[in-house]
């Protein structure tokens, strides 16, 4: 364990000065480019004369050694070959930098020599108390400060999502995917082979990080499972932790060994860990994003009785199936609700038991308000799920933007004011682009939307399971 780690990681995630060692033209200067919007001071360390002009052209100050930087360095990105890395780390230790990330691969994931070298590097970093986000990884993403590990990532914004991923690719997919769903990232880290810092270190850190309200993890293996278990048991009750484990099958586990050199425990054991700690298990990237949206956007609840609004009779049937299939209930409403519905609800081909089938009659904000109001007041209902017909709604949106804006404003207000969880299914059908447009409008304002009833139902099921797990007695 690195002493005083929280303090050191604070420095790494909030740096004033960053140095990139060994970025070069052949790599498209991708590290320096990714850091082009960094709010602090950026240095390049490069001794190759041929590489320097390109760096200077980008307006980055280049020095020949880390020791030549005239101020303290908080965070170092190493893109040097494996044989050079030990020497560079010595400089980092002497310079007393806050932390280091090493993109360099060719360690425990490749061969015995790599394993030995990784061991040496880890021993040295541990002895010196240097937080090394270790070989074969992409390091950190802190959009608020313009710290990125890829140019596809955004900058200048922040949000509630913390990401801990053993893979740089998955860190990028989760953070950019979340952004496309209206969720910004507070802090993200990709930590590769985990030679020094591992998942539990970052989990502990993000667990106490006030900016981070939900954590998504992509893990291939943990070194100290006992510590991971203890940490997860502490963090999960405080904020939702979603765990996506790579290497669930034998073939996947073999791929994980050559990716991050990770040992695999059986999926049954990981399931036990998630259940025991009250963490949320995910199996795909879609799961991760769906559950993140649920945990951030939808109000907490332990109630499994869902009131459904659907756009047609067939949809009413399959949406009820989807929710019932994951063990949620679709109960009858109270007699008072039915009496109120009977006073205004048009029942052409529609039924108004539950789901409430609106049969494409969803053409006034007033109707939406009355229906949603009834479900909000109904004592038999814990949560409200609404289908949004993309085609008709999009046409309406074009023809009558004022209606659309009015409806959107109402839905946002309803979501915020109703004590009951509320979310929307936006089945795209042939209108993919249109669905995306509406989805963005809803999610930018904090309403979770899902492209199918199954995914709506699944996400809400996880939410209920999470809050039930943490409401249970010891």
């Amino acid at each position: 364990m690195i002493p005083d780690l929280t303090h050191k990681l604070d420095r790494v995630f909030n740096p004033k000065v960053i140095a990139v060692i060994g970025d070069k033209k052949a790599n498209g200067y991708s590290w320096l480019k990714s850091l082009a919007h960094f709010t602090g001071k950026l240095y390049s360390v490069q001794i190759d004369e041929n590489e320097m002009p390109g760096i200077v052209e980008m307006g980055v100050t280049n020095v020949k050694s880390l020791m030549d930087i005239p101020e303290p360095v908080d965070f170092v990105v190493c893109a040097v070959p494996r044989k050079v890395l030990p020497r560079v780390l010595e400089d980092c230790i002497r310079k007393e930098v806050g932390g280091v990330t090493a993109f360099t691969s060719g360690f425990a994931e490749t061969d015995e020599e790599g394993k030995r070298m990784q061991q040496q590097i880890a021993e040295r970093a541990n002895a010196a108390g240097l937080p090394l986000i270790d070989p074969n990884c992409m390091g950190i993403f802190r959009p608020k400060l313009g710290i990125r590990h890829g140019v596809d990532q955004y900058y200048g914004e922040t949000g509630p999502v913390g990401v801990i991923a053993q893979s740089g690719g998955q860190a990028t997919f989760i953070t950019t995917g979340a952004r496309a769903n209206g969720l910004r990232t507070s802090k993200s880290v990709s930590f590769g082979n985990a030679a020094v810092l591992e998942a539990a270190d970052f989990l502990e850190y993000l667990g106490q990080d006030e900016e981070t309200r939900a954590i998504a993890m992509y893990i291939e293996g943990v070194r100290d499972g006992r510590r991971f278990f203890r940490t997860l048991r502490q963090v999960a009750p405080r904020k939702p932790v979603i765990i996506w484990r790579g290497g669930q099958t034998e073939d996947g586990a073999r791929a994980a060994r050559s990716h991050t050199g990770s040992l695999a425990s059986s999926m049954a054991i990981w399931d036990a860990v998630a259940r025991q700690c009250g963490a949320i298990r995910a199996d795909t990237l879609d799961d991760v994003l769906d559950y993140l949206k649920a945990m951030v956007f939808i109000k907490p609840s332990t109630g499994d009785r869902v009131g459904l609004i659907s756009m047609s009779g067939g949809q009413a049937v399959v949406t009820a199936d989807a929710f019932a299939r994951v063990g949620l209930r679709v109960p009858a409403l109270t007699e008072r609700s039915y009496a109120e519905l009977a006073s205004f609800f048009n029942v052409i081909g529609g039924s108004y038991r539950n789901p409430l089938d609106v049969s494409w009659n969803f053409n006034s904000t007033d109707l939406a308000q009355r229906l949603l109001g009834i479900l909000q007041a109904d004592e038999n209902i814990d949560a409200v799920s609404m289908e949004f017909g993309v085609g008709a709604m999009q046409r309406r949106w074009r023809r009558d933007p004022a209606f659309a804006e009015g409806l959107l404003n109402y839905l946002v207000r309803y979501k915020e004011e109703s004590p009951k969880p509320f979310f929307i299914t936006l089945f795209p059908g042939k209108w993919e682009a249109e669905a995306l447009e509406i989805r963005e409008k809803l999610q930018e304002r904090g309403i979770a939307t899902y492209p199918s009833f199954q995914r709506s139902a699944n996400a809400y099921r996880r939410l209920v399971d999470y809050y039930r797990a943490h409401a249970r007695e010891a």
Binding site: G225, L263, I269, D271, R275, A474
Partner: protein, 235 residues
């Protein structure tokens, strides 16, 4: 035979497999109910013990070198008289002599035949990353064919024990089906918690099997027990 003396004896003999008698002594001290099982070194001792604990009894060979006792004819069940018991002792010794002549034989375990109940199993194994893991399942085909088992990482909380029992698909069997009474689920929870405590207190335990445990409407008891220790004492 205390936990300390059982473990010390095994260590001094450089054994990793505890005998059934030793395993049960260890578990009994840990608070896990086990069927009263005593070691007999001679046919006369076997008959005397049987008389004391009451018929019917079962006899099983006790040897640190024999893992699967029934496969070699080392187990005799349902013995009802002194004569049957003495003969069973001789038969077991002959069978072992014929099938595994080099095995170290401590003697024969005499135990009371447990009354019928619902068979469940509890196991403990070590995961490379997460350490000791407790397993629960229903005995027989539920485990062997359907793999209907649940796991929890040590240390277990009461709610973990409660949930892992309810998690298996066969749980309705424990609640009582076809007119049978429900079994004492709290007693099973207690066993899971005791096994978890034992694993925490003794990291040198590598594997543990209670197979079967018989669950009744009042209580549960481990009929057979098998404990394997680590080759080297882990730090």
């Amino acid at each position: 035979m205390s936990q300390a003396s059982v473990l010390a004896a095994a260590r001094s003999e450089k054994r990793t497999l505890l005998t059934e008698v030793e395993s049960k002594a260890l578990l009994k001290e840990a608070g896990v109910p086990v069927v009263d099982t005593r070691l007999a070194r001679t046919r006369e001792e076997a008959a005397a013990i049987a008389k004391e604990i009451g018929y019917p009894v079962a006899l099983k060979v006790v040897s640190p070198d024999i893992a699967h006792k029934s496969d070699i004819g080392g187990v005799k069940l349902g013995l009802r008289t002194e004569k049957q018991t003495a003969k069973a002792f001789d038969d077991i010794m002959k069978a072992v002599q014929a099938r595994q002549p080099n095995a170290r034989v401590h003697g024969v375990a005499v135990q009371k035949m447990a009354r019928p109940g619902v068979e469940v199993i509890v196991g403990l194994s070590k995961d490379a990353q997460f350490g000791p893991v407790v397993m629960f399942g229903l005995g027989g085909i539920f485990v062997e064919v359907l793999k209907d088992v649940s796991f929890r990482i040590v240390p277990l909380l009461r709610r973990d024990a409660r949930e892992m029992i309810r998690e298996i698909k066969g749980f309705p069997v424990l609640q009582g089906i076809r007119g049978q009474e429900a079994v004492d689920i709290a007693a099973l929870e207690d066993i899971l918690l005791k096994v978890s405590e034992l694993a925490e207190r003794h990291p040198e335990i590598k594997e543990l099997d209670l197979n079967p445990i018989l669950a009744y409407k009042d209580g549960a008891v481990a009929v057979d027990a098998r404990v394997v220790l680590e080759g080297e004492t882990p730090s």
